[in-house]
Symmetry: C2
Subunit: 345 residues, 2 copies
C-alpha cells in the first residue's frame, strides 16, 4: 500500500496511483483526525470521495503516530492524551474513539489502537504494552458499529517470540478480519525483524490477511513475503523518490549524481512506467537539480511502480510454486543488503 | 502558452499540460542554456524529446532574464556579459549565439535577443535600447541557419508610441515569422499597457502572429486580444496556482481561506477540468494547508485550463463576430480590475 498520509500519495493523482499497479492505499487516521478533521471528510462523503480514490483504503489508528510524532503523549488504561504536532492543541484518543473515527472516515480496513513501545524498550515495558494492547483490542471489538468495515488486530511483543505468540493468540481469539505485526522495524537488526515475522505468522490464520506495518526495503518485502506476510505499507518508496533515490532492476540510482547529467537512457529499461517510457535519466536529474515539482511526481510514479511490480511478481511466483528461487534471484537483483536503512514510518 | 521555464510546466506531466487545452508552451533559453546546458538537450534529441512534449515550443532568447535575473549584466553593441543567477559563473550572449542556442534546443519558435530597459527608464535610454535591439535583430536574421524554425522579432519602445511604431517598422522590414511586443508589463499602469499594444498592432502584419510577452491577468488577455494580440505567455496562472489563488467563473478564489474548510462544492461548477470534476474545495484547501505536492498539480491544472478556456472562447467569439460583447461580459465575470498585479515574468 502506497502511503497517503494526508489523503494524498505525495505528488500523484488517483489516476497516477492506479497506474503504478497499486490496488490499495494507506492513510493516517491521526493526521486526518487533526486536519482537516473527521467531520470535514464525513461531510465530503467519506475518505474515498474526499480524495478521489475508489480502491480499498486502510487507515491506521493513530497509535504509532501519537507515540512517535505527537508531544507529551501520556498513556493510561483508558487511552492516550497528547498534543498535536501541528499546533500543540490537546487531544485524547481511546480504543473506542479510534474505531469511531475510522468508521467516520469510511475506510475499508480500520486498525485497532495499540500501544507502541520504543524500539529500545526493555522486556517488562514491551510486555505491559502488549497486555494493554490486548485489553484495548477487546474494547475495539465491542465498539464496532459498522458491518461494512474490516478491522485488523495488531500483534505486539517486540522481538520476544513468546510475547509475540501470546499476543497473536489473544488477537486470534478476539476474531479480527486480518492481523498486523506492529512494533517492528523500529531499529532492530533486519534479520531479527524477518525472524520474528517468520515465527509469528504460523500463529495467525492463513485465510486472513497478514499485514506487516511499516516495511520496508525491497529486500524486506522479499524476506517478509517469504515469512508469510501478505500486506505492507511504507513511506520508503515515496520518501526516497522525493530525495531522488530510485529503485531499478540494476540497483538503486541516486539520480542527482553528476554521472547522469547527459545520460539519455531510460531510468530502468525493464520498467514499463510512464517515467521510464517517456523520460531519460538526464531529464529526471535536471528536474531534481532545478527543484521542479514534476520531479516528485515522476520519481514517485516510478518507485511505487517498482514496489507494486515486485509484489505482483512475488504473487505470480507463489502461484507458480517458484517463490524460493524467485526470491533468491531478486535478492541479488535489488543489490540491497540487510544494512539498508529500516523503513521510516 | 503555459510557461515551462526549466522544461517543465511546474507540477504537470505533458499529458496533464495537454489536458488543459494548451497547444503551445514557452521555455526559457536562458535557464536551459545554464542548466542542464544546450549540449545535454541536443544529445537528448532536442527540447521536445527531452521534456516529452510533442506540441510547439517557443523559447525566449534570454534577454529579459539576463536583465532581470542575472547579476552584473553589462551590455555593449557586441552583446551582453553577465553572471549566472545559479552559481555566479561568468557568461556572454550575443544576437548570433542566442539564435544558435535556440536552434540547438530545437524549439519551433525562437526569439531574437533584445535589450530590455527597466520599466522606469527615461526616453533616451528606451530609445537607445530600441535602436540596439534593431541592430541586434539584423544580426539575428543573418545568423539563422535552420529553415525549420520560426524566428520572431521584438518591438521595443516603452510606452512612447512614436518609438513603438518606429521599432515595429524596422522589425517588419527585416521580415520575421512573427512579431512580439517586449518591454511592457514592467510596472506601467494597465490601461497604458493596453493603449500601447492597440497603437502598435496596426503596424504589424495581420497575417503573422502578434505576441505580447509576459501578460497577464484574465483582464489583460481580454483587453490585449481586443488590441490585436494573438499569443501570450505568463507565469501568473501557474505561480498563483502554487500560492493557492485560483481563477474561477465567479472570480478569484483564495483556497486557503477558512471559509472553504468544509466546502464540498467543486472549485468552479462551470469548469470541466480534472480538478473541478473530481475534487472539492475542501480537498483542495486541505492539500494546500497540509503542503501536499498534489496541491501544485491540481491547482495548476485548473488555472491553466481557465486561461486556455478563456482564450478558446475568445477565438470562438472572434470567428462568430461577437468579440466586443463577449469581452464586455467576460470583463465583468472575471471580477478582475485594472488594479490587478501585472504579470510577474
Amino acid at each position: 500500500m502506497p502511503v497517503a498520509t494526508h489523503g494524498s500519495v505525495k505528488g500523484l493523482t488517483p489516476i497516477q496511483i492506479r497506474a503504478t499497479g497499486a490496488e490499495m492505499i494507506l492513510s493516517n487516521a491521526y493526521h486526518l483526525w487533526l486536519r482537516p478533521g473527521c467531520d470535514v471528510i464525513e461531510a465530503a462523503g467519506g475518505l474515498h470521495r474526499f480524495m478521489g480514490w475508489d480502491g480499498p483504503i486502510l487507515t491506521d489508528s493513530g497509535g504509532y503516530q501519537i507515540f512517535s510524532l505527537a508531544a507529551l503523549a501520556r498513556v493510561t488504561d483508558e487511552g492516550v492524551t497528547f498534543r498535536s504536532h501541528i499546533d500543540g492543541s490537546p487531544h485524547a484518543l481511546n480504543p473506542e474513539e479510534a474505531i469511531r473515527a475510522q468508521e467516520r472516515l469510511g475506510s475499508d480496513v480500520a486498525m485497532i489502537l495499540d500501544e507502541c513501545p520504543p524500539g529500545d524498550a526493555d522486556r517488562s515495558t514491551i510486555t505491559a504494552a502488549a497486555e494493554r494492547t490486548a485489553r484495548w483490542a477487546k474494547r475495539a471489538v465491542a465498539a464496532r458499529a459498522r458491518g461494512d468495515q474490516a478491522v485488523f488486530g495488531i500483534v505486539q511483543g517486540g522481538t520476544h517470540l513468546d510475547l509475540r505468540i501470546e499476543s497473536a493468540r489473544t488477537m486470534v481469539e478476539l476474531g479480527f478480519d486480518g492481523y498486523a505485526l506492529g512494533g517492528l522495524s523500529v531499529g532492530e537488526p533486519r534479520p531479527e525483524t524477518w525472524r520474528v515475522a517468520a515465527a509469528t505468522t504460523p500463529h495467525l490464520p492463513s485465510d486472513h490477511p497478514r499485514y506487516f506495518m511499516g516495511a520496508g526495503t525491497p529486500t524486506d518485502l522479499i524476506r517478509l513475503v517469504g515469512a508469510g506476510i501478505d500486506l505492507f505499507d511504507c513511506v520508503l518508496p515515496t520518501r526516497l523518490a522525493r530525495n531522488g533515490t530510485l529503485f531499478t532492476s540494476q540497483g538503486p540510482v541516486i539520480i542527482r549524481n553528476a554521472r547522469y547529467v547527459a545520460d539519455v537512457r531510460p531510468l530502468d529499461e525493464q520498467c514499463g512506467c510512464y517515467t521510464c517510457t517517456q523520460f531519460t535519466r538526464a531529464y529526471l536529474r535536471h528536474m531534481v537539480m532545478a527543484r521542479e515539482p514534476l520531479a516528485v511526481t515522476l520519481n514517485t510514479l516510478h518507485n511505487v511502480t517498482y514496489y507494486e511490480t515486485l509484489m505482483a511478481r512475488m504473487r505470480s511466483a507463489i502461484i507458480a510454486n517458484t517463490f524460493a528461487s524467485f526470491a533468491d534471484a531478486m535478492l541479488q537483483e535489488t543489490s540491497m543488503t540487510s544494512e539498508d536503512p529500516a523503513c521510516p514510518a
